[in-house]
Subunit: 553 residues, 2 copies
């Protein structure tokens, strides 16, 4: 248990990476979480579905955890919530749209009776002995908030994901006045969004995308298809507005798009009149130039709407040379090739394709440098902790802090699990807590180890050789001829008869061990592995996984 | 054999992709190749080392092939040459630096006595009955040329990779006068570089990178490390100039960097005095602020110099908080994450890292739209065939052509193997020729099939289950208990005892088949596969490869 007046803040995810944001805030009287996000696997995690923060620290302090606050409804901030709530039954505080998205997610997971408590920007609540205030910010999803927390050690502020949009599509501009007031009150530490900190200047208002969309709709003849993130309600609203302006109905397709449009309409965040909306089954009944279709797949995800349309494998929608497609998003690093495949596919079918940065069809939802400067100027934090970003982004955010006069020693670039302790107005790093990642593989939760990931990579690159040998249990003598089977492996040209020669190698090995009467199958397998591996590496430069199987007879 | 006056042009690679550029030009009296490049594998080709064009068409016309001309020394234009020359012993024409790089490559492959013939920009040669003229262009490697070919059907021009640099570091600006003269003579068809056709405006001169480098060198305290493509001799020269200006020696590290610097110095393309050059073994003997180190790894390739330095695994070079690193390149699509990993690693060690686009340390080597317009205006081709690019790039190049007045029907966006026939000043598409890809896996050449690629992907995503069962050969009865071994597979939580239960499933299957006296091992394996697959899919939602092994006893 911590001393009175001591505060610990521990980011458990989202540092040194884009994704799985989750931070523990802990004082003597209890612990709370800011966000509970997930991440998507990278190319070094084949077969993995999603990645969660490590819950070890939460388990160690399970009785102290009093609640969770969410800044907004994106997966990288709420995606691990179902997994957290399965283990820890605590109240969850979030704004209306965020809760709407969370509710739908919990339902999918079959989690009932979660204690969800709606708050709104400007509201203050007590969470255990924390005083939590929600402050409105702009982002690429409505109802995003920053979180200011009054603790025993002082006032700390989490920006959540934010940008400053002075002409927002819906709702209010970011509450800069409140940021100024917090600054006046005195901010001990600021945990700020670093995603876009390499980018100079300001991020344009969401409004500018509307202008481009209107121009595209003005020029378009046939069907218009627009792909965007399903959670980007403001973007979706702008597509609806452009459709309205140009007398087109709006078809909604793609599982997550349909669900989010439904939620946002139900909660009043999206204005799409019933008589404008076309069910996905009826899209082909509307003349091409009377409809705009909203779909998913803006990241080139192989199974999503636009990717299927581009590949010609969509159940209902085809695209032709009269049609116009807008990819209203920017590829997340790692998705470039998938998005490019989509663009190429659509263009091959003759469609007129608009995409960023060739066309002005997207703006970022994350503050660029001048916005970061403004927030830092208003908050005047004593300590700056860049969060939400890879190291390069946090380092640039830190540089911006230094440029604004925050001493370098008051800026902490932490890694996941890095523990910052505040007491008497001072901050210091204390011992890191456990904070790895937890890979979810298949339906359930699986602590898929790095050893298995390495095994999978080796399997996929070099394949596998399986050797089956029948051995006399008594004497250790080889009986008959060993079998060699390979998977994911092809012999290069000039390496003809590789399998036959492999059998020869294994036979020689087993005759040698047999003559020494070796009946320790472990030792015997090691010899097979060594000899065959060296043979294959010489002949093919590949190092497949070798699995010797000894059948005792 | 073709009719008199008929010309066929067949791109065998480089269309709908970035890489493995190779085009066959064929008339009655013979066939020639323009370039013979390779490509790097994408994420759907695990374990593959490189990708070659399909040589089927060349083999079908082997006796017609009279020679190969190369536009420049990049791997995507010369990388498959060793494989081509192993099969087809024909003369190769290229400029001096290109030949220097090719010679070194052929040596590695143990290919002697290749018939290499040096040409220079401005020169004309006869190749069979083709009249081939080499025209100087600018690119991110010296000695690049376009190729104008006088054929029985008319004059055709291949741009190769090019940009227009009016203030080049070395050599001449692109020979626009010669392009104008060709245009006046009358160009039947132009095969133009499309790589950068999505980009408006002009690509800046290579010179601007020198200004940035000078500023970086001016500000740097400790050691300076610069990573760039090893073939970018002009970039390397500019690093040398900046070093000279700031009294630093130049260390050269990384296998390909050492080799290319050696070749370029020997041939007079690089001015690096002996007394400025530091052997890689001696880099640590020079005080940090007296040296700049050239290295590889600008694309985040895990085994290359800068990646190892960033990971802290380089044999000799460490980087610290006093040091400056310049990544003088832009990530090729697909390499973003690797490059980001390098940047993050270097910054974590405290280095000051300069990279594109945050810092102005790179310019492209490919013409942007205004340059493409200029070339099209000078050549005034009757037909435009965009090459070197994905479909999106070729489509944009075509749009630029249309904007300049080339009728859409005179623009051919082909795929690899698309065959264009010219006769009497007219062009028409004829039947496609075979033009897939040929994957090189391990040391040798292997026609690694898509089936194996799929197998590898499945292995990497879902892993493998191996079942070993001993069966009485006579009766088909199961003897003892089957063994189940998995690789690359981990049981999700809540699926405890999965291996034990799998053994149960297989035992039940084999008891059932045994009771029916089934001794057809194929049928028996199918039943094991079916039952176990359905069991595993239910319990884990994964579909590992299942390999049943029957041992007859």
């Amino acid at each position: 248990m911590l001393d009175n007046g001591t505060l610990q803040v521990v980011p458990l995810g989202g540092l040194g990476e884009i994704g799985k944001n989750m931070t523990a805030v802990r004082q003597r009287s209890g612990m709370m979480l800011v966000d509970a996000g997930m991440a998507f696997p990278d190319e070094e995690m084949p077969g993995i579905d999603l990645v969660l923060p490590d819950f070890t620290y939460l388990r160690e302090h399970a009785d102290e955890l009093k609640g969770i606050v969410l800044t907004h409804g994106h997966e990288d901030h709420v995606g691990s919530l179902p997994y957290v709530l399965r283990e820890f039954q605590v109240p969850v505080y979030a704004t209306r749209l965020t809760l709407g998205l969370v509710r739908s997610k919990l339902q999918e997971f079959g989690i009932k009776n979660a204690d969800l408590r709606e708050v709104q920007a400007g509201q203050r609540i007590s969470l255990a002995s924390f005083g939590v205030e929600f402050v409105g910010v702009n982002h690429s999803i409505p109802d995003a908030v920053a979180v200011a927390i009054r603790t025993e050690a002082g006032l700390i502020v989490f920006s959540g994901d934010y940008k400053i949009d002075l002409t927002p599509i819906e709702g209010e501009p970011m509450d800069l006045a409140r940021f100024a007031a917090l600054g006046k009150e005195g901010v001990l530490a600021y945990f700020g969004d670093s995603t876009n900190s390499e980018r100079p200047g300001y991020v344009p208002s969401e409004k500018v995308v509307g202008d481009t969309l209107n121009q595209v709709f003005e020029d378009a003849g046939g069907r218009i298809i627009v792909a965007s993130f399903a959670s980007h309600i403001h973007r979706i609203q702008q597509v609806i507005e452009a459709a309205k302006e140009h007398d087109r109905l709006v078809g909604v397709t793609g599982r997550s798009m349909i669900r989010n449009v439904q939620i946002a309409r139900d909660l009043g965040y999206l204005d799409l009149p019933d008589n404008m909306m076309v069910d996905q089954r009826d899209v082909n009944k509307v003349p091409d130039d009377d409809i705009a279709v909203l779909t998913t797949g803006s990241q080139g995800e192989p199974m999503a709407g636009l990717s299927r349309i581009a590949a010609g494998t969509h159940r209902t929608i085809e695209v032709g040379s009269e049609d116009t497609v807008v990819i209203s998003a920017h590829p997340i690093p790692g998705n470039e090739r998938g998005v490019s495949r989509t663009i190429n596919g659509l263009m091959k079918k003759g469609a007129d394709v608009h995409y960023s940065p060739v066309s002005n069809v997207h703006v970022s939802g994350h503050a660029a440098q001048e916005e970061q400067k403004l927030v830092l100027s208003l908050l005047k934090p004593r300590y700056l902790v860049p969060v939400h970003g890879e190291f390069r982004h946090m380092r640039h955010h830190a540089n911006t802090g230094v440029a604004l006069g925050i001493p370098e020693e008051n800026i902490f670039i932490l890694e996941n699990g890095g523990c910052l302790e505040f007491h008497g107005g001072e901050a210091r790093r204390v011992k890191n807590v456990a904070a790895g990642m937890f890979l979810v593989d298949g339906g359930g939760l699986a602590d898929t180890s790095t050893a298995v990931m390495r095994e999978r990579q080796q399997l996929s690159e070099d394949g596998m050789f399986i050797v089956v040998a029948r051995i006399d249990a008594q004497s250790g003598q080889l009986l008959g001829t060993p079998d060699v089977i390979s998977r994911g492996f092809v012999a290069p040209q000039g390496a003809n008869g590789l399998v036959e020669d492999s059998i020869g190698v294994v036979t020689t090995t087993l005759q040698r061990t047999g003559s020494r009467n070796i009946t320790d199958w472990g030792a015997l397998k090691n010899e097979i592995r060594r000899d065959l591996s060296s043979f294959l590496s010489n002949r093919t430069r590949k190092r497949p996984i070798i699995l010797p199987l000894i059948v005792e007879v």
